[in-house]
Symmetry: C2
DNA sequence: ATTACTAGTTTACGAGTAA
DNA sequence: TTTACTCGTAAACTAGTAA
């Protein structure tokens, strides 16, 4: 689940990248199997087969002509390449946005109680700009995201102060602006990650609040995978 | 020749990237074959074998312990990943440096004559800051670099004016600061790409000038591959 | 729980060739 | 010259098992 839906082999992606480097992203580019084969260091037969497979997978479109073929990369192909690129970016670059991935889970329903407390709700209205739906959407982060999440410590949080009433004290919390996207491409942008101020930041659970009930808004069921893009606030 | 020396398969690189995402670049990271297998969507046996191959190729170091193994990525492994990353950067990002690759060729020796003409030489001294060795180092660019080279049109060149004497006119030229690196890792930084001002910019030949004879300085022979990093001047 | 070996199967490959 | 087929081989995979 951590690796995005490949459905195609690594060799196919390498071939696709090669086409992109030859100009297949900008539009059609003229290729020959032998030239491609030379670049990829494989036989012309393999180059031919690779192109066929990419076409069958809907990652390229092409038109063969007498002395070669015109190849262009489809939107799906570009998305495939961009996923690869983002993956390497995560390896080498310090991100200004953190991309987390997790599966919707029922959580323990305790979020609803705390969110709706007036001591918190007033701060949400002031500092987040909306009154959140009285409940949190909980995600089970995958192992990579648990690690990525640690990068949150480098972000400037929106503080939510703790307070106390006659019976007990309520601890401070932090929020980070975020947007979420489903695997179907549906998105909701005005959400916040919320977490206790003092957390080990090694959690595999992520809690989200939003002005609407995300579970209904995005038609989510337990187990649905959600991408969460956490931005630097400010 | 266009694709860098892989020597390892695309699947191996994907596995290496997965280890990097799990923290194998920063230092040792704790892995298990089953966890890795889940991330890569392959069997645990394949994960085990992939790790063996990466170790044999010198791209990772590891120590197996009772409940898994500690894996770290070697310098060679990091270089491999960075090459992949740069490759995707070339696909998606507008580069501020152009990376060209070509093989040393004898050229036609006409460079020597023009370079040493006083009308040009004075401008080199003023605008490049040195008196170039009276000759050019000529490279045969590979097909990818021929395309990349077109990006030079987006760069601000150092202009070299044309002039005329009693016999004929000498055309204007443009220079771009560059540094060169051999496949052995030897480098020379104070060089310039030089080209006629009016060029089709679709050339497969690249001419370099430098204060020294690069062919001797870098112990170059015809056919040796040279990386040329062309920077935005200014 | 691990890692990794052996065995059997599937997949990918290059050579040769046709269109 | 191209692209892409068939065919025999080589490589990579999964399943089962041992340590």
């Amino acid at each position: 689940m951590a690796e995005a839906q490949p459905a195609i082999g690594a060799d196919a992606v390498v071939t696709l990248r090669r086409i992109a480097l030859d100009g297949g992203l900008a539009g059609e580019t003229k290729l020959s199997c032998s030239g491609l084969a030379g670049d990829l260091d494989v036989s012309t037969q393999t180059a031919s087969r690779r192109l066929q497979h990419l076409e069958e997978a809907g990652l390229i479109e092409r038109e063969t002509v007498g002395d070669g073929q015109w190849v262009s990369i489809t939107d799906a192909g570009e998305r495939t390449l961009r996923r690869e690129y983002e993956s390497y970016r995560r390896v080498f670059e310090e991100p200004e946005v953190l991309e987390l991935r997790g599966a919707v889970t029922s959580g323990m329903g305790e979020g609803r109680h705390y969110i709706s407390l007036s001591g918190y709700m007033a701060q949400f209205r002031d500092r987040l700009g909306y009154e959140p739906f009285p409940g949190t959407l909980n995600l089970d982060l995958d192992t990579e995201s648990v690690r990525t999440r640690m990068g949150l410590s480098g972000f400037e949080p929106i503080p939510i102060d703790g307070w106390e009433d006659e019976e007990r004290t309520y601890g401070p919390a932090v929020c980070y602006p975020a947007s979420v996207t489903t695997t179907d491409g549906d998105a909701y942008d005005e959400t916040h990650v919320i977490a206790p101020e003092r957390t080990h930041h090694d959690e595999d659970q992520l809690e989200l609040i939003a002005p609407v009930k995300l579970r209904d808004e995005l038609k989510l069921a337990d187990g649905n995978v959600l991408m969460v893009s956490v931005e630097e606030s400010g």
